[in-house]
Amino acid sequence: MGNVLLQYATVLMLTIFVGVEIIAKVPSILHTPLMSGSNAIHGVILVGAMLVLGSAHTTLEMVLGFLAVILATLNVVGGFVVTDRMLEMFKAKPKAPAAKSDEVAS
């Protein structure tokens, strides 16, 4: 048991550093999509919700698990769709360097 916990804690520690490293240099215009995208990613709680509903023995567990799956699905699906909608706006628009180009996005 102790070993397993330690293994999880190791994963936790390493992931904290990865999470911080990844975000360190993000232009402010992408803050909103980034927030929204990571919002979708924590929707992975859907997997947890499926597991608790899938091992429910009592009616209470079933009801709670059922609600959890609904909420988690909302989080995942809504999160990805909304992020995609935001990012759709950026398509075909090159990250303009300081130079003024005559290229006009359609």
Partner: protein, 464 residues
């Protein structure tokens, strides 16, 4: 390879896609791809879970599970697709809130489950933390949504001893967790649940509307942590990795956002920013003279300028005037006038919000100038056209040490030769602070709905 190993392997793939996706979301070119990659990874994880075995049996209630998912999809897709772009911050708040709620429910269910199959004392810390954090995120997001959707006042709600009461609530939650762990009294879980719910509300109430986006980012990180806690409970590396990623990056992102507003995170969270309606030096503002003009005046002024800097704000989006604004810019360019858009990092209601709104109206990316570049352009600009912005051009942020927004970087509209200020009324901006720029002799105010006014200006420009 056993089925269990294969599923774990797929979970590993899924966790990897999340890391790759977050990395992609940090660059404009790969952001959309990154989001798609994460969605694929999520799909892999969900499909794999259907085949997972728990305690030696396949998952029960698969039918019920699918029904729940269908309900979720049917509600989420149209909501996410068709809600107006201006309402995006609320939408993110609500999707975050339900995620927090799901994490909390998973922890509660697991608690009930453990309780029915193990001795009463077998309760672990992470279950309780999952309930606490997930519920705070849920109720906090609900209040954030209500504030942004203007179901309740956007101003900070304050009462005497607020910080102390919140501190006591938070401490009580932690003490309760210790008591549950020590005594194994499982009925106290429901008390913890109720307490967390109240704590989430109490925590968000004093935060003003202008700061709510920063708060949503923080609550987003909270949900991530709650998911990571569930990962410990369920023994799932995938949940631990994904939750921690979001938690760690979310907290950093929150700090970056408050920095973009020139404030510290604790200032955002605890100062009840914006509860004072007028800043110092603006007493008796109602009686002060302002210069106002007609759209035709504005059209003439713009037609004879050689450099125009447009400073858009949230009011532009509310009036749905992005398209007319672009039309105006095109008219001016056709006359050989240089046109730029000056984008404040927090223009709109979230960092980057304004870029999205302008991109929606097909404004060329190259015309958007970020803060520093915009300010150097403004020194030589003939006209600064402020549309629906207010706080982001308020000189008080630079000159007035007593102003609540002192220190926030601003766009120096006041450095342009002339300032055209399109406003609905003399009402102060989102942060509730009086703006000296309105009274400057350089400034001409044009009252009215932004879309309406801009349409008239376009006509006037055409006529000249």
């Amino acid at each position: 390879m056993s089925r269990g190993t294969l599923i774990d392997l797929l979970y590993l793939v899924s966790a990897t896609t999340f890391i790759v996706a977050l990395k992609g979301l940090g660059s404009p070119k790969r952001a959309r791809l990154g989001n798609a990659i994460a969605a694929v990874g999520m799909l892999i994880a969900v499909v794999a879970t259907f085949f997972k075995q728990v305690d030696g049996h396949s998952l029960y209630h698969l039918g019920l599970m699918i029904v729940a998912m269908v309900i979720g999809v049917v509600v989420a897709v149209p909501t996410a697709r068709y809600v107006r772009m201006t309402a995006m911050p609320q939408l993110v708040a609500i999707f975050n809130g339900v995620g927090g709620g799901a994490a909390s429910l998973v922890s509660i269910t697991e608690f009930v489950h453990i309780h029915s199959t193990h001795p009463a004392t077998y309760v672990t810390l992470e279950v309780l933390l999952g309930v606490l954090i997930g519920t705070v995120s849920f109720s906090g997001s609900a209040i954030a949504y209500a504030k942004l959707q203007e179901l309740m006042t956007g101003r900070p709600v304050t009462y005497p001893g607020q910080q102390i009461i919140n501190g006591v609530l938070g401490a009580a939650g932690l003490v309760l967790i210790v008591i549950i762990l020590a005594s194994g009294q499982t009925a106290l879980l429901w008390v913890l649940l109720a307490l967390s719910f109240v704590l989430g509300i109490a925590f968000v109430l004093p935060i003003g509307g202008a700061d709510v986006p920063v708060l949503i980012s923080l609550l987003n990180a909270f949900t991530g942590l709650a998911v990571a806690a569930s990962g410990f409970t369920l023994g799932s590396n995938l949940l631990i990795v994904a939750g921690t990623l979001v938690g760690a990056s979310g907290i950093l992102l929150t700090r970056l956002m408050s920095k973009a507003m020139g404030r510290s995170l604790s200032n955002v969270l605890f100062s009840a920013f914006g509860s004072v309606i007028t800043a110092s030096g603006a007493s008796g503002a109602d009686a002060r003279p302002v210069r106002s003009g007609s759209p035709v005046d504005a059209g003439v002024l713009l037609s004879f300028a050689s450099r125009v800097v447009i400073i858009p704000g949230y009011g532009l989006a509310v009036a749905q005037a992005q398209h007319v604004l672009r039309e105006l810019a095109e008219q001016l360019e056709a006359k050989g006038i240089e046109v730029f858009y000056a984008i404040h990092p927090v223009a709109g209601r979230m960092p980057g919000h304004m870029n999205v709104l302008l991109a929606e109206a097909n404004v060329p990316y190259e015309q958007l100038k970020e803060l520093d570049e915009a300010n150097s352009e403004l020194q030589t600009a003939d006209v600064a056209l402020v549309v629906g912005a207010n706080d982001t051009v308020n000189p008080a942020a630079q000159d007035d040490k007593n102003s609540p927004i002192y220190g926030m970087p601003i766009i120096h509209a006041d450095q342009a030769e002339n300032v055209l200020f399109l406003k609905r009324s003399m009402r102060p901006g989102f942060a509730g602070i009086e703006n000296e720029l309105l009274y400057s002799p350089k400034t001409t105010l044009i009252f009215g709905d932004a879309k309406d006014t801009l349409t008239k200006i376009v006509a006037a420009v055409k006529a000249n």
